[in-house]
């Protein structure tokens, strides 16, 4: 039996090249499905990763109670000083979160890029923010530093460029990286400067703190909520960014899978077609084999293996193309919580790639099964007559 399977299969695969154009339909059809699916899912994956990378366990955001956006909220310098002195808080920095309308490179589409006003402590709290080019802004000067993703996505953010913000003109003095997180899509400047340009006085929107340890965030949250002077809550960065990415990730994943499923149905029809015609052009051959004593099972298995091989090839090509073209491709989208842009890189992870191949194999399996059964069950006499 194994010997029979082996022989029929090898024979099938060896004469595949002569059926090249028909077989390519399966490869391209399934390749297309895998490419579209992986393209969309890698976008969701990248979006989620870039937001989740921002979160560290021992850091927290203090913001207005009940809000979901860093944009809302007002904390006076006195509020911030009080909180900084509280137990469990190691470092704290007020942050103002505003947006500037800047065109995407090469388009006339203006998008809201995040401009974050920070205090010097911010660099200590977020140690992953590292200058890769130029220098940090000087306090009190009209200078900004720009994340690498923002610099590559939006116009006029090279070092030395002048950035008109409100009635002021700021100079870009450096580019920073931040471990691939969405922070790289932001522009940073001195809190006092941002506040003066956006007429905020000393009020910051939120406060970013580093805590003694992971558990402190919830204790601090309870303390602030109980304090009648404040209308604030504490969210650990992990919690905050996970909530921010959740909806969008679900949406893109859902969209990707829905489009993938519809395309997959189309590809199964294509695969069925190809395998049916592959079987029908070889009806006489298969019938001869069966007349010679080859059993039905080897015939079925050989047809299935052929279809699976083609499907796998399609999956590899489709997945490979997406990986080559999209992995690391930087895009940005709107963050619904604050109407500002979040930059992220598409990520074709090994897990996604593996999933793409599984889809391909399942499609190949379905596409091969019916023709295989037909090949094995068509009466030998009918088949030999070549009908």
């Amino acid at each position: 039996m194994l010997g029979q399977i082996y022989e029929v299969t090898v024979m099938n695969l060896l004469n595949l090249p002569s059926r090249m154009s028909a077989s390519s339909v399966i490869v391209v059809g399934i390749g297309g499905v895998v490419a579209v699916l992986l393209g969309l899912l890698s976008m969701a994956e990248g979006f989620q990763a870039s937001l989740e990378k921002m979160g560290k366990a021992d850091r927290a955001i203090i913001m207005r109670d009940g809000t979901s956006s860093e944009m809302n909220g007002a904390m006076t310098p006195a509020d911030r000083a009080t909180i900084k002195a509280m137990d469990g808080v190691v470092q704290g920095s007020g942050e103002t979160y505003v947006v500037a309308a800047i065109n995407k490179i090469g388009t006339d589409i203006s998008a809201n890029v995040v401009v974050r006003g920070v205090e010097p402590e911010s660099f200590g709290i977020r140690s992953e923010v590292q200058m890769i080019d130029g220098r940090r802004f000087e306090l009190g000067k009209a200078e900004v530093i720009v994340g690498v993703k923002a610099a590559s996505q939006f116009e006029g953010l090279n070092i030395g460029d002048k950035l008109p913000v409100r009635d002021q003109v700021w100079t870009v003095v450096g580019h920073f990286a931040s471990d691939g997180s969405a922070t790289e899509g932001e522009i940073w400047a001195d809190l006092a400067n941002v506040n003066s340009a956006y007429r905020r006085g000393g009020i910051s929107n939120t406060m970013r703190v580093r805590l003694t340890d992971e558990g402190t965030a919830s204790a601090l949250d309870e303390r602030l909520k109980a304090d009648p002077r404040f209308d604030l809550m504490v969210r650990s960065e992990r919690e905050f960014y996970a909530a921010q990415s959740e909806d969008r990730t679900e949406l893109i994943n859902g969209f990707g899978v829905a489009v993938g499923v519809i395309m997959a149905i189309g590809a199964v029809f294509a695969a069925l077609n190809t395998m049916y015609s592959a079987v029908s052009t070889r009806t006489v051959e298969i019938a001869t084999l069966r007349a010679l004593g080859f059993g039905s099972v080897p015939v079925v298995i050989s047809v299935m293996i052929e279809s699976l091989t083609l499907a796998l090839l399609g999956g590899l090509i489709g997945g490979g193309l997406v990986w080559l073209v999209f992995d690391g491709y930087t895009a940005s989208t709107l963050n619904d919580a604050s109407f500002s842009q979040v930059a992220f890189d598409f990520a074709v992870t090994p897990e996604l790639f593996q999933m793409g191949l599984i889809w391909a194999l399942v499609l190949g399996l379905v596409g091969g099964a019916f023709p295989a059964i037909r090949a094995a069950t068509i009466p030998i006499t009918t088949a030999l007559r070549g009908e």
Binding site: S21, A22, V259, N273, Y276, S332
Partner: protein, 386 residues
Amino acid sequence: MNIVGLMWANLFRKPMRTTLTILSVVIAFLLFGLLQSIGSAFEGGAQVAGVDRLVVAAKYSQIDNLPYAQKQQILSVEGVDGITHTSWFGGNYQDPKNFFAKFPVDPVSYFDIYNELDLQPADALERFIRERNAAVVDVALAERFGWQVGDVIPIIGTIYSKSDGDRLWEFTLVGTYSENGEASNFPLFLFNYEYFNESTAFGRDQVGQWTVRIDMPERAGEIAQQIDALFENSTDPTRTASEDEANRQFARQLGDMGFITTMIMSAVFFTIILLTGNTMSQALRERIPELAVLKTLGFTDATVSLLILGEAVMLCLLGGLLGGLLALGLGPIISAMIESFFGSFEVSNQVVLNGLGLSLVVGLLIGMIPALSAQRLAIVDALRGL
């Protein structure tokens, strides 16, 4: 048998193959119909934008508010014939996932400017004006959450709290609105600006943006410039654009939705052309001796090639038609599934027609090469079975 009948008969000589091929084409055009519709809902294209309406927003960013005091100045610009305003309230209903936009508005001017909106029941507008905490919503929202007129709808403020520090805002539903009898694709929750302005802890006497009606649409550009000039050197400079332009600017920020749709559609059509093209050339190869017989019988080269071309076009048109109808049928179901994320979309007849047009092009493309080789076919060679 006329030539169309012959095409039809040829098409179904291998029913299984043709059915499977048509089904793949159907799937391609189903996707086309759905993606086109979702794409245009994203782009704001399907949203009705009045040609006689301008949107005046803060110059630097959408998150800035404008002072209420600008109203009289804007009204003084020649050609401006009405004005209303909206503001972004934020806020959550039960769960942050139940996303929909909530705007405090002035009832009278809002429904005057957006006169395509039809408010029901008959006393809704009067109650909306009179009752402090009244709200009206898009019919689609009322349906989605099962709201009835008279229901109290609690919204937790995420930006605005009341002056006593309370973040709970309660509204009584007094009516629903629809646009020419249909739900719009950006359903709104509207409540009384006066109530908002009296109660809010901060941000008083401010609005998010103005919507202005002009009496001469052809002078829109000029009027926009005049409005912006009014505030250019004030603390609150503005940027005025047509409503259509403003909708599009906002939608584009969502990201490269158009780009994604194009990528998917290219992948789908590349696959379809290859697949169907392959089927056609296979069908042709099998039929070479037959075509030679037709030529021998006196069919001209042109007729024979038309026969092949027609078969390909027929196959694609059939797929395009069925796919378009399927998209029309499935559209509302899928729209209902995704509306909680970004409003609904609608598969329009126009989209189906576009799909049909496209399927004609695809059919011609696919049929061209086999048709040409059928035309060049020499009777002698063909009869020899080469």
